[in-house]
């Protein structure tokens, strides 16, 4: 599980973390991602970095489904604490080849206790 805790801008952790996820996908491991704290901002819709002079890498999250990274757990409390709802997030999806390529949502909203259980199940945690 890749745990994302930083906002997309301000530090390099989010973008370099995403690079690890995309490279790691080639190793065909069973991976998922968690978004907690300011990390939930990484999935915000309509990001615009034009006036900051920084690259807007948020479209790259849409590629995750193609790399079979299709379990993105977003912590409900972190969204609420930041005045966000699921509707503020990018509608990320993946195509399930075992279900006639049906398009399914990648984002799963979980509460803090559920996320804690998910973390407990993992073999490897990488924090970004």
């Amino acid at each position: 599980m890749y745990i994302n805790r930083h906002a997309p801008c301000g530090t390099v952790y989010a973008v370099e973390g995403l690079e690890v996820v995309l490279i790691g996908a080639a190793f065909e491991q069973d991976v998922c991602m968690a978004f907690v704290g300011d990390g939930v901002f990484q999935l915000k819709q309509d990001q615009d970095t034009a006036e900051t002079g920084m690259k807007n890498f948020s479209p790259a999250y849409r590629a995750l489904g193609d790399y079979e990274v299709n379990r993105l757990y977003v912590e409900r409390e972190s969204l609420e604490e930041r005045g966000l709802t699921e509707d503020d997030l990018m509608p990320l999806t993946w195509e399930d080849e075992d279900d006639d390529w049906a398009e399914k949502p990648s984002i799963h909203i979980v509460d803090r206790a559920q996320l804690s259980d998910l973390i407990e199940e993992q073999d490897i945690l990488l924090n970004f």
């Binding site: 390099v12 952790y13 370099e16 490279i23 790691g24 491991q29 490897i124 945690l125 990488l126 924090n127």
Partner: protein
Amino acid sequence: MKFSVMVNEGPYTHQASDSAYQFIRAALSAGHEIFRVFFYHDGVNNGTRLTTPPQDDRNIVNRWSELASEHDLDLVVCVAAAQRRGIVDPDEAKRNSKDGDNIAPGFRISGLGQLIEAGIESDRLLVFGD
């Protein structure tokens, strides 16, 4: 136990590199194995031999090089993170037409696959950083 270590912060600004170094020394002296140390984010700055800290302070980079030579450690600097931050070995210098290199002894530049492999091959992967 077989450990791998990820260092995500640069030297001196943050204690991550110091803590990782102390952990590895303690683990080795307790008979554990270190499969790999992977430097990512600003952690790649631990791999430049051009640092010159004051003489009364620890030399973080030299300390890593010495530990690598003593224990045959595999110190890997992420190539993508290194390119952003100007950590260069002779091959990279040539490929990107740079006028010099700065990789410290005992370090090598390679890809993120080395991090994933370290996670798979080790009993524990420890991440040091913010």
